[in-house]
Amino acid sequence: MKLINLDHISAAPLLPEVKESMIDAINSDLHNPSSQHQAGEAAAERLDAAREAVRQLVGAKDTKEIVFVSGGTESVNHAIKGVAMANQGKGNHIVTTNIEHNAVIRSLKRLSGAGFKVTSLPVDETGRVNPEDVAKAITDKTILVSVMHANNETGTLQPIREIGEITREKNVLFHSDAVDSVGVVPVSVEEMGVDLLSFGANRYYGPHGIGGLYVRKGTRIFPLLEGGVQEHNKRGGTENLIGIIGMGKAAELAIRDMDTRAAHLSELKQYLLDNLPKHLDEYLINTNLEHSLPDLLNVSLKYIEGESVMLMLDGDGIAVSTKSACATGSLRASHVLMSLGLSHADAQGTVVLAWGIDNTKEEMDHFLASVSECVHTLRSMSPLYRNHNG
């Protein structure tokens, strides 16, 4: 049975063209792009072509502003720690939100232990931060504001442009973790007003293990990895050229197909939203439907626990992810869901549905039938459901 992948946020399939580009890169025996002989120059040309595609994808002015890194996590670590270290003379205060990815949270926690002060802002019950709160949190010691673009658990988009206007006016650097939005929705660093933007490649059907950091010209930032002068002196180490070529191809295709993909993904989203009530009752949609990605929904199924749902759906050949405390290994409910004001019990029953361009309405029907049965089974054995019904 073919797997129905509703967990694209964990892994999206490589597009055939991406695979071909990478296999071709392997077969081409590319040399080191830093080498000055002809073989090196040929490799550098491939590197430049990929960088140009990625520049276009994020709407940067100059290819020099694109730094290839090993993925979203490195990109975020680089942006936050690199800016903090390079701007210590100016101040030690950083502003962020309560719903960031662990890459941001843990980078900031590390900095807190080294004398930096962090202000983490709450979000409203729809999952969005208020730009006015950002403005109020900025002090004369603030060196960086870091707010994610699309949340990885809910798909809710943050008011980046409004925050960008504030950081511009106050002359504070602005970083956005856009790992889950770049390549899925139109992103322009110029329109957003960001100085730093983190992104990967797998969200738009490129490989894992490769990503990018946009660094606006003139931004003070130290390299995270010291070494050679690769990546315009921002990231030491010989480039992962095969990954970069795959990322470049994926970026090219994402630009070309963004509208048609978005139309298909939005249609599936609407289909789910229309049909969920026919198959389920007593659930919460934790995604802000006015401001969100077209390919993700966060649903809390009341009175049951998410890992059980995930396991049962898995038995039916459907992959989803869950943010229940049991499943994450942290034994704590998701900080994102808690920030939305969910109760612990409701947070436990949360599944994240992340479909992709390869999914169909028939697959959604299969999911709806399967989840309906699984919720029924789990509720019939849940003491919470019993208590709720007297």
Partner: protein, 170 residues
């Protein structure tokens, strides 16, 4: 992630449900820690004549409840009181380490239900099931990092996972 025995009990849980007019009811856990189990008992001649469970929780919590009911069914109360959470995990041929101290509450729920039965016999009135809110975390002789809960080597002066220094004896 789980072994075949656990998956079998998760997919086909034994003795799910409630008992009409139970002789004892025990409950452990709460939604905060992700798991909650209720055990219903019917007692005949000091033996467990019937046992049913209801569980809110992850795969291992459901498998644990199911296996516990199998272990307890037909046992004398004295025997049933001796069933430990460790016995249940062993009967399931092992649980992932991070599940050992959160989902493995079945025996506690059983003991609460037996307590409830004995209390009722002694004339103690209760409005709901006998409850145990906070379960003991079965950490036994292992050391765990107080900051990130990763298992530690006893001699460590810092946690290799989160790199925090461990000043006190642990």
């Amino acid at each position: 992630m789980y072994n075949e025995v656990v998956m079998d009990h998760f997919k086909q849980p034994r003795n799910v449900g409630t008992i009409e007019d139970p002789d004892g009811v025990g409950e452990v856990g709460n939604p905060l820690c992700g798991d909650m189990m209720t055990i219903y008992l019917k007692i005949k001649d000091d033996k467990i004549d019937d046992i049913k469970f209801q569980t809110f929780g992850c795969g291992s919590a459901i498998a644990v409840s199911s296996m516990l009911t199998e272990l307890a069914m037909g046992k004398t109360l004295k025997e049933a009181k001796q069933i430990t959470n460790k016995d249940v995990a062993a009967a399931l041929e092992g649980l992932p380490k991070n599940k050992m101290h959160c989902s493995n509450l079945g025996a506690d729920a059983l003991h609460m239900a037996i307590q409830d039965y004995e209390d009722r016999k002694a004339g103690v009135q209760r409005s709901g099931p006998a409850r145990k809110e906070d379960h003991e975390h079965e950490k036994e002789s292992h050391c765990y990092c107080p900051y990130c809960d990763v298992e530690l080597n006893e001699a460590s002066t810092f946690c290799e996972a989160c790199q925090r220094s461990l000043d006190e004896e642990h």
